[in-house]
Amino acid sequence: MSTTTLTTVRRKPGYSRFFRILTYTFLTGVALAWLVPVVGAVYASFRPYSETQKKGIFSWPSKLSFSNYTNAWKQGGMGGVHGTFANTAFIVLPSIVLILLLSSMMAFAVSRFTWRFNVTLLLIFTAGNLLPAQVIFKPLFTMFQHIPWPNFLSDSDSGDLLGTKIAVIIIHVAFQTGFCTFVLSNYMKTIPKELNEAALVDGASVPRQFFQIILPLCRPALAALATLEFTWLYNDFFWAVVLLNQGSQRPITSSIANLGGQFFSNDNLIAAASMIIAMPTLAVYLAMQKQFISGLTLGASKG
């Protein structure tokens, strides 16, 4: 008796059940549709091009092999110390370290101390991060062209910064520091002020307060930002394409632009290359899903 009254109070049972089924059908349908391109790409990447050309991807396989992967790896120049993967590592890892260091220092100074230009600086940083990259690149290009840089420190022989990986690192750091400062300053505002006061009374200097008190407390935010920045910088296409004109110097993601030509239009080879390129970010995403999403939401809502 009591249960029936309860359900009638909640809602007409048939009505809500209908909507529940509808909800699940819709969600599952969308999820399946979402998986089609990737499952298709994985499936195609294991099959020879000649076969899928004849029968289409949507067919029973007569031969499965890794040969597309090995070919993509070799022809794309992905492996080795001078391969595109190494280029990516050389650009992305130092960038992340620098971005997090600079932005946490900046965030510390503007969020733990009251300055006159606090908000102005944060405004400049946040706005800068939203500027379209195309708008700033030509002057930047010219600037790098006129900054001398010794050849033995770079892999180009022009004697300037343009065309070196350092140039790409610099622009990543300059751009991304805006976003990370914004996120970290929001995060640091949630740390009680008393901690700083206590440290001040104990005579801790500013660098000590920063490195030994605030920074360790920011570990979750730093981890979240590191994951987020990893995927963003790894996926960068624009800067690598315009600043590194030699294909062999390019990081993995932008080198895919050359693959189309190299592989004619061997779609399965391209699918395999896409899968190789997608692997690291997918792995990071699956392993660090929580940090990833918290990084995004930290940036979206203020602390």
Partner: protein, 325 residues
Amino acid sequence: MSTDVTEAAPPNRGRRRRYSQLSFKDKVWLCLMVGVPTVIHIVFVWVPAIATIILSFTKWDGIKLGSWNAVGFKNYWAIFTIFDSKFFPALFNNLVLLIFLSVCSLVGILLAYLLDKGVRGSRIYQSIYYFPVVLSLAVVGFIWKSVMFSQSQGLLNVGRTKPIDFVGDSHKLFVFHLPFLDTPLGLSKNFAALLIAMAWRHIGYVMVLYLAGLKSVDPSLREASSIDGCNEWQTFRQVVFPVMKPINVVVLVITVIEALRAFDIIVALKEPIGTSVLGVLVKNNLVGEGGGQVGLGSAYGVILLLLCLGFIIWYLINNYREQDP
């Protein structure tokens, strides 16, 4: 820059209370902590942005420093009159993209709302919707091109006797003429195909942002509104949606900025005819074969910048209003 440590005090008071608890060394440290990132950011982001604005009023081949000539608004005039056959179709594509991504954002919000209702396995759904976001748009373009769109074997061409060339077909789906324009505007078939690939990535992004926002909405608000007799739609429209304002602003800004900055997927697919957008026009006037028209390219860039800037400012006002007295 002054370094008064008046914690939690409104900035105006800092002027009067000028005593400082910081030693000289600490002040130097703080100045460095603020100075180094600020200088890097301003020199490599804002100085080039301002330089682009200045260059848009000049004619320059982009090679020799100092060889630029001021030409006033000539570049802008050229864009709106001589180059209108390039400019307006690109602008129109950006506009189509904006409208389309806005619809995608609504879909993302719907998915987030449904997942927030306590669906079983919501984590799995969430992961599936979100994973395209971690792929670069260039890779997204290649996956769709080789697996979905391919004329000879693509999954979207399964069972078609006359396969469609999704990436190459620049025929317009619809065309209309504006009275002041010679060039007809319209949505080409291949751009429509690219839109679908972009939606794949955009919807998950919005879904995750919105879901996180929904989770932070106080459940007692919904309870109160349902006790007051609101149905689900009324509760969402009049209680949840207003409370979510900060997230709504972020979603809108992301949608607009993404639509205006679109670049990667088009360039990665070798810029098929009919898919040009403003970002690509800027690049093509500055580097490569059509390069050397720095003034013109910069003017395109400034137009792009102005379109973005309105939304950037609006976003900043929304974000900093409470902090800035």
